[in-house]
């Protein structure tokens, strides 16, 4: 489509069911009660001038441009703050109004530079547009007096600039920061003529302020005051394409605004149902990796990882890969081959990779990164509810009275959803945080958690069972819900289990380190505070009892009846953009798409008939078992699409040993990632901007990904997989991902009603989409659980085998930070590094003092598995005895120290609990030095001068 600004109705949509009819400029208009006159006019095709109003912010009534005349009313009220009432007769265009508006505009322009022709917002400026609309022809006040025109521009933020000389002090940016983002980093400093927008304190610039660079202020600004630097550099966009972000599981939709083939900016799509027009620093700004100099666009091969890479044609690379795969299959059998699908790639691409492994390689050795993040969610929710996906849509949080947040840090990991949660908390919902760290939500502007339970890492099950103890023994269970919706016999067994005094908060306090009284009060609040919703993340799943913790969460939701309606539920916050989709598409070694076991004869027959091949009836290997089998010699080749297991998976040295032992490692990626150091074939990948397909977010929402530019490597990723399949003789003939989605729909009952065409027409669908739910399913388990009655499961607390002791007295837990994403392959190649250039180790002041460590010192972090070095940050955000770091940088390789311990049911690694010691250091660890050498050697490309890795 050509470029046009997104429609702006001036004030938010009213939600009332009651209609109101009024007359505007002679036209009868009917709107929901509570709608402003401004919005009513806009919805009926009219237009009232405005500057301080925009429809994602509450009406403010300050600019005085939107004045109207209302018959029978005195004066000229602001249409943005005046609600429509029955029978109201409004005039929006009269000589009186025109004169008033022109006078107001004259005042604005008297302190605004008249550099429109050279301004970067020329033709995309609301002030310019409204000046034309009101017919401003002259400024009687002249330009000689005191003005703001000489104020310097703040260019400190890497992505946007603040030019106060162009500011009209409409406060849209300040209000967007408060209302939409919830950070309150901006304010209006000074009074009267001296009033100006200020980031945090007067001494701050945007970079040093509390600003989180979400872009809401830039989007809200009606002038060029806050504007993307890219617009200044490239010019205004001339077309736009709506697509879906490739970062976290929120699944924000954006308008990719283009000038020719160049992406100018990503603007959050106001009609996006996951993000409702908001964004974060990653999705909004951190897309520069697509054109980073590290990107590899030619296929490369080598016989051994000691050799430099050799750039070759696609034909040669694919033939080389096919020969290796065929040779290994012939010598060692099909079960020596496998693959890893990517949760960053589309549903269609993921589906093809698992099809290639099962139908082409001939094994079920296919797995995905959900193995290392949310696999316990699947196990736990399937056991209790009969289904594993999140039970709600994101909108549900606006009906929540009590938020129980456990093992998640949404302001960093899922920032756009966190902003909606913060909005609800500011409206009065209560918050319970269960986390070893004092995450930002515990206390941030206008938000304070009612309870923060800073538990000892590894004791989630004990804490949740203790909460259940309180609910059951204090008579707070929802007996009616349990009787009607759950298996009563199992409930009684479970209730008897949790009622045992050994599960009381007091008894468990020594283990959990949570004060019993705090825990009791939190449990009472969850059970009695109204609609209560649980949101959780990897702090729940990445434990040796991850699956048990998920079941304990489900038990809490059932015992209090908090399932099956808006405002409640169990909500896993998915890490990567398409984790849900990758799971749906049959990426796990034991099941085909739609969660049907590979041993099921009828299911296998369905796929065998469609694909024309026989399938192995036995489950395949999980990622960690593939690596074990590689070391043992029975697993010899792997095709990895869009994952970097060397950096992301635990016990790096074991991953390296497994990869080193294989005869053929095929990495299909944008960059020579860490895993590619051990690869023999490199197939260049395409970015989300260069492909068509679909992603499925944490709400089960399937959304289109649309190609906005041609792939720099020549092919979309699904095409690369097809090329490899055809090199193996499979004769695939897809010409567009829509054909792959048709195959998915044909073979997968929950996707039966999904098609590319329908998604493009409707923007998104939440599965299941089938005959029973033709328009999808926003909230699950409304009348019954998917498999009938809810099942309470006894969750006995089993301590992890990873123990602290004299050698390793501290517990390390890991996580992520706002500006970086996962292994950082994308975000490290953007200006986001200005906020997080290296991983650091958070340590409590007491622990630091005991070790003679000061803030910023280099430290050695050692576990039973390995050691690395990084700088320490001394902070009381972590409790004594606990340290915390991120895993975004390969130079640190935090996973060198994490262990092989994993969830008992799914083998999701126990990233969150590692016994460590920390001591002063003056240099890199032995592993870091060796790995640095290997990495440098392994990234050599024949004919190219060697460059540092990053």
């Amino acid at each position: 489509m050509g470029y046009e600004r997104q429609a702006d109705f001036g004030t938010p949509e009213a939600t009332s069911d009651e209609p109101v009819t009024l007359t505007i400029d002679g036209r009868e208009v009917t709107v929901p009660a509570g709608t402003s006159v401004m919005r009513a006019a806009a919805e009926s095709g009219g237009s009232i001038p405005k500057l301080c109003a925009t429809d994602n912010l509450k009406a403010y009534g300050s600019c005085r441009m939107c004045l109207v005349e209302i018959e029978g009313a005195r004066g000229t009220p602001a249409s943005c703050t005046t609600p429509a009432t029955p029978g109201m007769v409004v005039h929006t265009q009269t000589p009186r109004l025109q004169k008033l508006r022109r006078g107001v505009m004259e005042l604005y322009i008297s302190d605004h530079p008249l550099d429109c022709l050279t301004c970067s917002a020329n033709n995309d400026c609301e002030l310019q547009e409204e000046a034309a609309n009101v017919g401003l022809r002259d400024v009687r006040y002249g330009y000689e007096g005191t003005s703001h025109l000489g104020l310097p521009t703040d260019t400190s933020n890497p992505y946007f600039q603040f030019d106060p000389s162009k500011c009209i002090v409409c406060s849209r940016c300040v209000r967007a920061c408060a209302e939409v983002q919830g950070t309150f980093a901006l304010t209006i400093d000074g009074r009267g003529f001296a009033s100006m927008v200020s980031a945090s304190q007067a001494s701050d610039n945007f970079l040093s302020s509390e600003c989180v660079s979400c872009g809401a202020c830039v989007q809200a600004c009606p002038t060029a005051t806050l504007q993307e630097k890219a617009v200044k550099d490239v010019g205004l966009p001339e077309r736009s394409v709506v697509t879906t972000c490739a970062y976290c599981g929120v699944g924000c939709t954006f308008r990719a605004e283009m000038r020719g083939e160049q992406l100018v900016r990503m603007v959050p799509y106001k009609d996006g149902k996951a993000n409702r027009g908001h964004s974060c620093v990653k999705g909004r700004f951190a897309w520069g990796y697509a054109n980073h100099k590290d990107r590899i666009t030619s296929p490369m091969i080598r016989d051994s990882i000691d050799q430099p890479w050799r750039e070759v044609s696609w034909d040669e690379a694919l033939s080389f890969a096919a020969n290796k795969l065929n040779g290994i299959k012939q010598q060692y059998g099909a079960r020596a081959l496998g693959g890893i699908t990517s949760s960053r790639c589309t549903n269609e691409e993921t589906f093809l990779v698992q099809k290639l492994v099962r139908g082409g390689f001939g094994s079920n050795n296919v797995d995905t990164c959900a193995r290392v993040c949310h696999s316990p969610t699947g196990y736990g929710l399937k056991t209790t509810f009969g289904t594993s996906a999140g039970t709600q849509d994101f909108d549900s949080v606006m009906d929540t009275d009590v938020v129980l947040l456990i093992g998640a840090n949404p302001t960093d990991g899922h920032p756009v959803f966190a902003s909606r949660m913060k909005r609800r908390l500011r409206e009065g919902a209560k918050l319970i945080v269960i986390d070893p760290r004092r995450i930002d939500l515990v206390r941030s502007p206008h938000i304070e958690a009612a309870h923060h339970l800073p538990l000892q890492p590894g004791t989630n099950v004990a804490v949740l069972t203790a909460m259940a103890h309180v609910i059951v023994t204090e008579g707070l269970a929802n007996d009616q819900f349990i009787r009607e919706r759950c298996e009563v016999d199992e409930y009684e067994d479970w209730a008897s289990f949790v009622s045992d005094v050994k599960h009381s908060p007091e008894f468990l306090e020594e283990v959990t380190r949570v004060p019993a009284q705090d825990l009791r009060e939190a449990a009472r609040l969850y059970a009695t505070g109204g609609n209560a919703a649980i949101y959780y993340g990897l702090g729940v799943t990445e434990h040796s009892q991850g699956s048990s913790t998920v079941m304990a969460i489900a038990n809490l939701a059932m015992v209090t009846g908090n399932i099956g309606r808006p405002g409640v539920g169990v909500n896993p916050l998915r890490g990567q953009n398409n984790v849900q989709g990758a799971c749906d598409m049959g990426s796990f070694p034991h099941e085909l798409s739609g969660y049907r076991h590979i041993s099921d004869v009828e299911t296998r027959a369905l796929f065998e008939k469609d694909w024309g091949v026989a399938l192995d009836p036995e489950p395949g290997l999980r990622i960690n078992n593939m690596l074990d089998a590689a070391v043992d010699g029975s697993f010899r080749a792997i095709y990895i699409q869009g994952e970097d297991i060397l950096q992301s998976d635990p016990n790096t040295q074991h991953v390296a040993a497994g990869l080193s032992a294989m005869d053929c490692v095929i990495v299909h990626d944008l960059f020579l990632n860490e895993t590619a150091n051990y690869a023999h074939v490199f197939l260049p990948g395409s970015t989300f901007l260069e492909k068509n397909g679909t992603f499925t977010n944490a709400e089960r929402r399937i959304q289109p990904v649309r190609k906005v530019m041609e792939p720099a490597n020549g092919y979309e990723d699904w095409e690369v997989t097809q090329l490899l399949a055809n090199a193996l003789g499979l004769n695939w003939t897809y010409t567009h991902p829509s054909e792959i989605m048709d195959e998915i729909a044909r073979l997968t009952p929950s996707f039966a009603g999904v098609s590319w065409e329908r998604l493009c027409a409707e923007d998104s669908l939440q599965w299941p989409v089938n005959e029973e739910y033709p328009d999808g399913s926003p909230i699950m388990h409304q009348d019954r659980f998917v498999r009938g009655k809810g099942k309470f499961v006894v969750t006995e607390y089993v301590p992890t085998d990873e123990k602290t002791g004299p050698r390793f007295p501290l517990l390390l837990t890991t996580g992520r930070i706002l500006s970086q994403y996962n292994v950082g392959a994308q975000t490290r190649r953007t200006a986001n590094t200005v906020w997080h250039a290296e991983d650091v180790l958070e340590m409590h002041p007491t622990d630091a003092e005991n070790r003679g460590l000061n803030d910023g010192d280099w430290t050695k972090l050692a576990s039973r598995t390995g050691e690395t070095t990084l700088r320490v940050r001394v902070t009381d955000r972590v409790a004594p005895g606990v340290v915390y770091t991120t895993f975004h940088h390969p130079a640190t390789q935090a996973n060198v120290v994490t262990t092989d311990y994993s969830d008992w049911a799914t083998n999701c690694p126990e990233y969150k609990v590692t016994a460590v010691q920390v001591m002063p250091s003056n240099g890199p660890s032995e592993w870091q030095e060796e790995y640095s050498d290997l990495s440098e050697r392994s990234r050599r490309i024949e004919g190219e001068e060697m460059e540092p890795a990053e």
């Binding site: 799971c583 034991h590 099941e591 299911t603 489950p619 290997l621």
Partner: protein
């Protein structure tokens, strides 16, 4: 024992330990069922050949599987969708 056998023993023991609350008989069935539905054949073969040192519930489960006895499903986690069924969803 090789490192892989150690790992398989740890996995089997850990599964058994988490089913222990069901009582021995059910825990043995549940452990066997879990391994049957989620483990690759080479993993099963390897542990069949190296049973010494397993904890009692895990050992009994492995003995049952090695004898070719098909365990009954004990949890919903091992009950999957039928070919035309939308119902179950799992990420494990």
């Amino acid at each position: 024992m090789s490192s892989t056998i150690d790992t398989l023993h740890r996995m089997a023991d850990q599964i058994a330990r988490n089913f222990q609350h069901m009582g021995v008989e059910s825990a043995v069935e549940a452990t066997a069922d879990h391994i049957n539905m989620f483990w690759d054949p080479r993993m099963k073969d390897a542990i069949f050949a190296n049973r010494e040192g397993l904890t009692p519930i895990a050992r009994a489960a492995i003995d049952e599987l090695a004898a070719g006895i098909e365990p009954e499903h004990q949890t919903r986690a091992t009950v999957f969708n039928a070919v035309d069924e939308v119902g179950h969803v799992d990420a494990g």
